[in-house]
Amino acid sequence: MPWSPVNTFEFWNRRLHYYIGLYLLFFVWLFALTGLLLNHPAWKFAEFWPTRRQAAFERQIARPPAAPDLTQAKNILAQLGLTGEIEWTSARADARRLDFRASRPGHIFEIKTDFDRERATVERIDLNTWGVMHILHTFTGVRAGDSRNQRDWMLTSMWVWSMDAVAIGLMTMVFGSYYMWWRLRRERAWGLVALISGWMACWLFVVGLRLLE
């Protein structure tokens, strides 16, 4: 095939479609399957909260140096040998105490500290594989409208970049596939029917329901 910008584009567009699809295969399966599970909470086989394991323990800690809450929380986690995304569950009312949650897919640690007694009480919750999968779907470290909780664990950030990459990769595949399909003259008519049906259904939900009300 002679070199031309169009040929080069077609060559790489086709390969990107395969390569992105293959690279993201397991990520896409995870997010697709867990999306299905999240939408069907009544599916008993995927239950994870009733089967959680709980344990509580108390440990001696050294009072962390005066610092912002996040720094102190990281210090306490390091002393306890724990890692995870720190989440503030309540406003701090007493400088002698610091209560927070550290979580990672499958594990939740509710930590309550008393700096005067130099003690930390940890309630640990472990979830089964379904619980891990559920949480992977939503593990972003942030929530809309909650400015206090920011991503503070490097692995959360890396997981979020994976989510971004999956989203960008899927959109690249979608728009690249439109070009490949359009080049197949024989498939244009039915392809157009499928594509327009999809876009109209989407438009209906994103915009149309409001306009039609």
Binding site: L25, V160, A201
Partner: protein
């Protein structure tokens, strides 16, 4: 026979892919809002002027109902008030004998406040924008309030479409693997990339869960 199977699979991959592609774009775009909420300024409009509806016919024992029966009873009130949408939750304030009912259409939130004594309701509408609509659809139906969710026909249809998107995506990925394996020239590079993806995925999940 094998060629027929290949052609049928290729056509199904193509048409199913084209049909669900807008849904994939919808879910993918909403990911950015969900994981980077600070980067998306809320486009919530100022509430429109409140309107009142008087002399609503209150279903019997409404305040004593709960769950789905309460939602169904409230639906008749919404019909009287000309409000459509998915009922989010119903908050009852016994002291004031009032009900507060947020009703959502993707991109619009309507709140109906009902005084059960006077049988008058105040309705406030806020436009929350396209990004909010995408997020709302991404999270619907979701795991919470399962007993009362999907109480509006449009959202029941959406639940069906969201499920269909997953099933078709699984079909497309499986058929895509088959179509790739047929291309001999792409096998070696494809296998390398597939392994790289599997290693990235497993490594990341392992680090998150156990690392």
């Amino acid at each position: 026979m094998q060629r027929d199977f290949y052609l049928v699979t290729r056509d199904l991959h193509l048409y199913a892919g084209l049909f669900i592609s807008p849904f994939v774009v919808l879910f993918a775009l909403s990911v950015f809002v969900l994981v980077h909420p600070a980067g998306f300024l809320p486009s919530v409009s100022a509430p429109q002027a409140a309107r009142s509806v008087r002399n609503l016919e209150i279903p019997a024992r409404l305040e004593n109902l709960s769950g789905r029966p309460r939602v169904e009873a409230v639906r008749s009130l919404l019909d009287q008030a000309g409000v459509n949408g998915e009922i989010g939750y119903i908050r009852y304030t016994p002291k004031e004998h009032r009900l507060s009912i947020p009703v959502n259409i993707p991109g619009r939130e309507t709140t109906l406040d009902l005084d059960l004594n006077s049988r008058n309701a105040t309705i406030v509408v806020r436009e929350t924008g396209v990004w909010d609509a995408l997020v709302q659809l991404h999270k619907s139906p979701g795991p919470h309030l399962a007993e009362i969710r999907m109480n509006w026909i449009a959202m029941r249809l959406w639940r069906w479409l969201a499920d269909a998107t997953v099933y078709l995506l699984l079909f497309i990925s499986a058929s895509g693997i088959y179509l790739w394996t047929v291309l001999r020239s792409e096998r070696r590079a494809g296998i390398a990339i597939l392994i790289a993806g599997a290693v990235s995925f497993c490594g990341m999940v392992y680090a998150l869960v156990a690392g």
